[in-house]
Subunit: 313 residues, 2 copies
């Protein structure tokens, strides 16, 4: 496939393993001044040295698949442009940072012969695959608690305005919203969010703490806590966790370990192999029902934006 | 002091260490058929063998302090009777299971020379004391996540009707609501609750999963997850947890350990000594400002009932 990359500030590198099997026809910043050096250098390690274009629009007629991960407020518009030309899009989550943007994008998706896949890359991590498979043996899912905690560090200017950032719920909590959706195998019936931007180390409007609370089909309950308050001295950048309470046991991931308690007692589970969400997208293009569906990409973005909007009320 | 005990189904034993220094003038069931054998036997281990009365009303004029821990729906009325006679009450939490009951009780408190202390006994556990003291060195509290998870087992009939049980939020989640209130040192400004009674192993209306979400003064956020779904094969009855995210570090309790991450890195904290909440109540009677205040007892009960009422909507 002819593939292009727009932007550098997201998770384009999920595609890195597969790119050598395809033709990277060009890369471009999503906005003036977006540094592309990290992308150039990482591609070079795979022997890929594509032209670096000034304007992403130059890629519009040239690609079969585009990887979009630029500034949060720009991803939706760029994604829509490519969908309208029947180009597949591997797009940073959230697909949009307002419900209005998302509606426009969904209309573009409807009319397209291609589709968009959101970068819910954590779905492919060994721990998530392990939890996902363990849940299948534990009866009915009843309660889920997800956690994302990141170091704040010093983030670029566009994090400082909600208009360009979108908020910690669509940017960070969204991963855990996706997890609980996958693990529960159920849709959301009620969505509540809270967030706060105090003590954000001079990051303007950027919210740094958040909570979401969900009622799901079948009376399943789910909570998500997401924050940028992880101490800089922490051993890892993130502190992802999930706990899934089922009728026949509890499985959870935390600090590199998946543990389960069921009728056989408490034990650590061996990690299953990673899955490659970009490779899964390519298989989906070939007709397999695998990986992150476009429906999930839209749905999880929508739920995250609803929670964010509730938090901003 | 002349002390009496009404009921056996709660945490009267928080008083056990102090009782030998006082006179236990009598014990009585709170309702016909409430078994008092466990109380009789445990008191005997301390050399205390009080008369066992048939009707708790016989204690009304006979005590300076009464310990009330009978059926959830009866505690409020009994507590009010003693407050009206200026008798101190060490009462099971929640103080009441409806806001109407609580309003009546609060009126009785207002007119009383004595006061009621709710049995927030976990405040005295070494882990809670350790977390409480650690928080003081970590700057501003910004986000708290509390968890209570219990084994369900087979519970008495009065758990099976909300009218006599009150719900998992006022019975179980209330502890974690108290923790986040103490640890944040802030009041609640918004209260949300969810709960569900499915898959409760034939326990009628008893809800077995719940989530609460709070906005607090100063923009502090707090979540509480409480369930009765802990597998019977678990190594302990409960899986209490709390995580306190502060501007200068994160402290948490889980599985018997308190850990902190701050500028000096991640480490386990040595446990501080336990505190005795009943002994603190006795000191409060002597005029010291220590332990669980009557204000907190009412306030936390009220917040829990508000969350429960929100969940029942």
């Amino acid at each position: 496939m002819r593939i292009g990359i727009i932007g550098s500030v997201g998770h384009w590198f999920y595609a890195l393993n597969e790119l050598p099997r395809h033709t990277v026809v060009g890369i471009a910043p999503g906005f003036a001044g977006e540094g592309m050096v990290a992308v150039i250098n990482q591609l070079k390690t795979k022997g890929i040295e594509p032209p670096v274009l000034e304007d992403w629009r130059a890629l519009l007629g040239e690609v079969d698949l585009i990887i979009v991960n630029t500034r949060f407020d720009l991803n939706a518009g760029i994604t829509a442009e490519f969908l309208r030309r029947d180009v597949y899009v591997f797009a940073e989550k959230p697909l949009a940072i307002t419900l209005e943007q998302l509606d426009i994008l969904e209309a573009a998706q409807k009319d397209s012969k291609a589709f968009v896949t959101a970068m819910f890359g954590i779905r492919g991590e060994p721990w998530f695959v392990t939890v996902r498979e363990a849940v299948k043996g534990l009866g009915e899912v009843r309660l889920l608690n997800g956690q994302k905690s990141y170091r704040m560090g010093n983030r670029p200017d566009y994090y400082r305005r909600m208009e360009t950032f979108g908020g910690i719920i669509p940017w960070v909590a969204i991963h855990a919203i996706d997890w609980v959706h996958v693990l529960a195998g159920a849709d959301f019936t009620a969505v509540r969010g809270l967030s706060n931007a105090d003590f954000n180390n001079g990051h303007g409007e950027m919210d740094v703490t958040s909570l979401c609370q969900f009622e799901m089909e079948g009376g399943i309950l789910a909570s998500v806590s997401a924050d940028f308050m992880r101490p800089m001295s922490s051993p890892t950048h993130d502190d992802d966790r999930v706990r899934v309470v089922c009728t026949e046991g509890v499985v959870e991931y935390m600090k590199g370990k998946v543990t389960v308690i069921d009728k056989d007692g408490e034990r650590e589970l061996p990690m299953l192999p990673a899955e490659d969400v970009f490779e899964q997208m390519l298989r989906r293009i070939s007709g397999e029902n695998v990986g992150v569906s476009p429906e999930d990409s839209f749905y999880i973005t929508r739920v995250a934006l609803m929670a964010r909007d509730d938090a901003m009320k």
